[in-house]
Amino acid sequence: MTLDPTVWPLLWKATLETLWMVLPSALLGQLLGTALGVWLTLTRPGGLTPNPALFRVLDAVVNIGRSFPFIILMIVLIPLTRLLVGTSIGSTAAIVPLTVAAVPFLARLVEGSLREVPAGVTEAARAMGATTSQIVTKVLLPEALPGLLHAFTVLVISLLGYSAVAGAIGAGGLGDLAIRYGYHRFDTATMTVTVAVLLLLVQLVQWLGDRAEHRADHR
């Protein structure tokens, strides 16, 4: 098992492609997913602005979004991706399905963290005369910050995994490299190194995420 030195530039390029797929979709997913998570929290029965009909719709959308296997989601979304990016192939195109997968995934996690904010705290804010938007921006989201950071960490790591699937159907990145060399060419060395880089990325994200979460947590 020897490593071909020409693999290093490939590995570097693949790492950048992976980051280019994952980071924008993680940020977009965090943004939209948080909004959807807040919406779910507000409209659920017993929420600040209960709306059972709307809640059922949002809840169903999130469930459907989450139950789609990512590879199917990518294929289903090809028309949308073409519309938005102009092509359905390549790292940039992968951002679309990755974001679409990220939103419901994150919305659930956000909803969970918001639910951990004690009802009494929200009630105290209401008794002080806070508006609903003040409660969201000044109470719920800041109080749930550690949970939101945790959700972001989990999201980035999951997207790293999804991006490998995206790589398999032409998006490039580390997953693509591992599959091309390891699976198609039986180049175990290259595959091992590629997987090691992916592993390192995951470790780094987890470490950074834990640190940020710990620092933000005053409970």
Partner: protein, 336 residues
């Protein structure tokens, strides 16, 4: 020395004092088929410390939620300082809420904010600029004895300190009405006592109306001037604390008094008189006895920053209460 005013029982409207801080009329609140409050009428005198006592499920917290604007009754009227609270627009209601402070059993502080930021929160909602609201929050924290704790997070505070932050947060907007729902129930007896005396001091300094909700008669006894007893969503008895404790009329009140034995029962033919003494020592007791009065109830209190004792005397009808009190007054003041 204070001579007792007539018993302000709701069933005798003629006895109601002139200045009405809080007026509840025929309030009914239902949750599904369950009636939490039924035809509830109560007058809470301005500047009083009124205890609301009742067993678990009696409707005390429901009442607090109505008074704080967190919930609305199904019927009835709610007036605070002459203003009908139930006809306010949502924006007016929010403004109104800033003038009613609420203190909670479990503090309900924001864990991710420092003590100072917690206290400043109501002002932040009201749109007060940062520098101003933090200065105000700092002052209010000092008033509850928490100077130097501004930058602590709730997790770094003891239960009593957390409740002080909760009280400061309720006070920072300068409310006229302060509601404390079981504010000492999560605290040990010593801390409870210090929180109750803080509430008493603040009520006096700021001349606000304080409502203390509790299921403990000791809280009523040590910190309130008036009391209303709730049972199954109904008001069963109300009036000046000393009178109610000395001469409970309703079975619920007696049951709640339970462990707490009045010093003596009011005998038939005796009338009840209230007076304030600097201390209830053996000498004072002797003098009272010599004059023909019998102590039936006593309650420590703080008046004008000084420790005093509210005393209720059973006075035989053949004695003129005025004369008895008149004779006692100079001597009582000598002691002070």
């Amino acid at each position: 020395m204070t001579i007792a005013t007539p018993l302000t029982h709701v069933s005798s409207p003629a006895a109601a004092p002139a200045s009405a801080a809080l007026e509840l009329r025929g309030i009914t609140k239902r949750f599904g088929g369950h009636t939490a409050l039924e035809d509830f009428t109560l007058h809470v005198p301005r500047g009083s410390r009124t205890g609301i006592i009742g067993r678990s499920g009696a409707g005390k917290s429901t009442l607090v939620r109505l008074l704080s604007g967190l919930d609305t009754p199904d019927s009835g009227e709610l007036h605070l300082g002459g203003e009908n609270l139930l006809t306010l627009s949502p924006a007016q209601r929010r403004q109104r809420q800033a003038r009613t402070g609420l203190v909670f059993q479990h503090f309900n502080l924001l864990a991710q904010r420092t003590a100072l930021q917690n206290v400043a929160l109501p002002l932040e909602f009201a749109g007060v600029p940062k520098v101003k609201r933090e200065a105000q929050a700092r002052d209010t924290l000092a008033q509850v004895g928490l100077s130097g704790f501004e930058d602590r997070y709730p997790a770094q505070l003891s239960g009593g300190q957390k409740q002080r932050v909760g009280i400061a947060r309720a006070l920072v907007t300068g409310p006229e009405l302060l509601l404390a729902d079981e504010a000492t129930s999560a605290l040990d007896p010593e801390t409870s006592a210090s929180i109750l005396s803080l509430l008493t001091r603040i009520q006096q300094e700021r001349d606000l109306t304080l409502i203390i909700v509790t299921h403990q008669m000791e809280v009523v006894r040590s910190a309130t001037t008036h009391v209303a007893v709730l049972d199954h969503g109904r008001l069963v008895e109300s009036g000046e604390t000393g009178r109610v404790l000395a001469n409970p009329q309703h079975a619920t009140t007696r049951a709640l008094l339970g462990a707490h034995q009045p010093l003596a029962e009011l005998a038939p033919g005796e009338t009840l008189q209230q007076l304030t003494l600097p201390a209830l020592d053996a000498a004072t007791l002797g003098r009272l006895a010599a004059l023909g009065g019998r102590v039936v109830e006593a309650q420590p209190t703080v008046i004008g920053g000084r420790q005093q004792v509210l005393v209720w005397l059973g006075v035989p009808q053949h004695l003129s209460a005025d004369r008895l009190l008149g004779q006692l007054q100079p001597q009582a003041e000598e002691v002070a």
